[in-house]
């Protein structure tokens, strides 16, 4: 008897379970949107006046700081989503329900598959909300339909990678505290990259780090697609990072997933 034949049915059942919980208790969505939204408001309305004029020379004629910062904060949403995923996976793992699932003849990977899909839906919805608010605040992307489709594809890929990392953190962490702290650096990375200010303005050392960390090429590619700034090699590097992080996250999550966690 193989449970593989239940792969689709069980994944859908698990996905329904996840979505029901998210819709009923949308606190995680509030956190995922709240963090980047707060920064959006803070940076545009508080720091924007001072930063804007020196930063927003996008080379495409736009001098609006909101146009510069939105790609970085949207990518940051993938990181806050990852953090949300990590904590909810950790709560799940340490509660008895997962132990119950393990004693049932179901397609086991369906638990993680559903988690990744529901987290992605949650994060992508959050990104749409950020875009919505940004548009109200005067964000004026120059992208056409084609660019938008590619931008959404890129965001989905980045979200996929960071969600798997979040799942891996959540499965590996021994406590909920650890699970919600471990992905925190991911939220900071857009700051130490080209998310808020261009990397050229940073001192040596920081600047090298900023240019070689995964968020910068992703942000630069997104900015290029949305605002028409030059993309160069960034697209390839961004995709490579996403694929690499997905694989690491997936393998790491799988390694720890089969351990019994209830004590």
């Amino acid at each position: 008897m193989s449970t593989r034949s239940y792969a689709v049915t069980d994944s859908i059942t698990m996905l329904r379970r996840d979505l029901k919980k998210i819709l009923r208790y949308p606190t995680s969505v509030i956190f995922i949107v709240g963090f980047p939204l707060l920064f959006l408001l803070l940076f545009v309305y508080v720091f924007g006046g001072a930063l804007g004029t020196s930063v927003a020379n996008l080379g495409n004629g736009s001098t609006s700081y909101v146009d510069y910062i939105v790609p970085g904060l949207v990518v940051m949403t993938a990181a806050t989503g990852s953090l949300g995923t990590s904590s909810s996976v950790n709560v799940d793992m340490t509660e008895g329900i997962i132990a119950r699932f393990r004693t049932m003849a179901i397609f086991r990977p369906s638990i993680l598959i559903a988690r990744v899909v529901s987290s992605m839906m949650q994060t992508l919805t959050s990104m749409a909300l950020i875009f919505g608010v940004a548009l109200l605040m005067g964000f004026r992307p120059t992208a056409g339909i084609g660019e938008w489709i590619m931008a959404i594809g890129l965001l989905a890929l980045a979200t996929f990678a960071l969600t798997w990392l979040g799942v891996a953190f959540g499965v590996a962490a021994k406590t909920l505290d650890a699970a919600s702290n471990a992905p925190f650096p991911l939220i900071i990375l857009p700051f130490v990259g080209s998310g808020i200010v261009p990397t050229e303005s940073m001192p040596n050392g920081v600047r090298q780090f900023a240019e070689y960390q995964p968020f910068t090429p992703i942000i630069e590619t997104l900015r290029g697609l949305l605002m028409g700034t030059p993309i160069g090699h960034n697209a390839v590097i961004a995709i490579a990072w996403c694929v690499g992080l997905s694989i690491v996250g997936f393998l790491w999550a799988r390694k720890n997933f089969n351990r019994d966690r209830t004590q």
Partner: protein
Amino acid sequence: MAITARGLRKSYGDHVVLDGIDLDIAEGTIFSLLGPNGAGKTTAVKILTTLIKADGGQLTVGGHDLAREPDAVRAMIGVTGQFSAVETLLNGEENLLLMADLWHLERRHGRRRAAELLERLDLVEAAKKPVITYSGGMRRRLDLAMTLVGSPRVIFLDEPTTGLDPRSRRGMWQLIRDLVADGVTIFLTTQYLEEADHLADRIAVLDHGRLVAEGTAEELKRRVPGGSIALRFADVAAMDAAARVLGQVTRHDDDLSLHVPSDGAVATLRSVLNQLDSASVAVENLSLHTPDLDDVFLALTGNMERKASA
């Protein structure tokens, strides 16, 4: 046989949790694994329910080899663990329907089964309320209902009544008895001797990873030498007098009582009373003590402890 084990072993590092356990549990019976905290009961359940792997031993559940066909085993079993395995953010009915989906029941059948179990476990009123609002007893009942959704043939109950109030405990016992009436096999762990005595067809006592005794409740009780007659006196003088008359007794000076070994026969009791009468010793209070599982348990596990520390 519903469950068999030969030489089941499991250790965590240097710590041996199960040290060569043999089990033969017949279909349609309640088997109770009895032992103090940390004896290895939960580990045994986790292994038999495919949650963790044994280090060694031949194990079958429902005729399927645990190591070779874990999914076939999973398709036959239901588990209610020590910690509640319910989805606290969903309501009771949704929890049952989730189980029905995961058992791959046909939709209508799943709904009917859920309704039936809500009724049977007295959760109809709470069906639409989120589980987070349930009391401990209700959660436990829902947990059991979830285990029953797929009509498993072998059910593992790991300390199903720990933490329940006496009334809920009685209710749970009745449910467990009803289950066996349907021909289901039950593997029950408990630290309550009374529970094992009430429910189990066979009991095995687990201590420090070994089975120190196995049999029916009656067989186990027989392994403990005799009961006693407890006689309480008004003062030390009366107690001393009685002790002189009766000869072979155990003195309990703290509550002025003597314990006379007894097989529980009326003749023995009468002879003790006659002896006291003819010596004119007044007894204030008398009670008969027949060996119960507590004695068995203490005798068996106590011995092991002494052996271990020797």
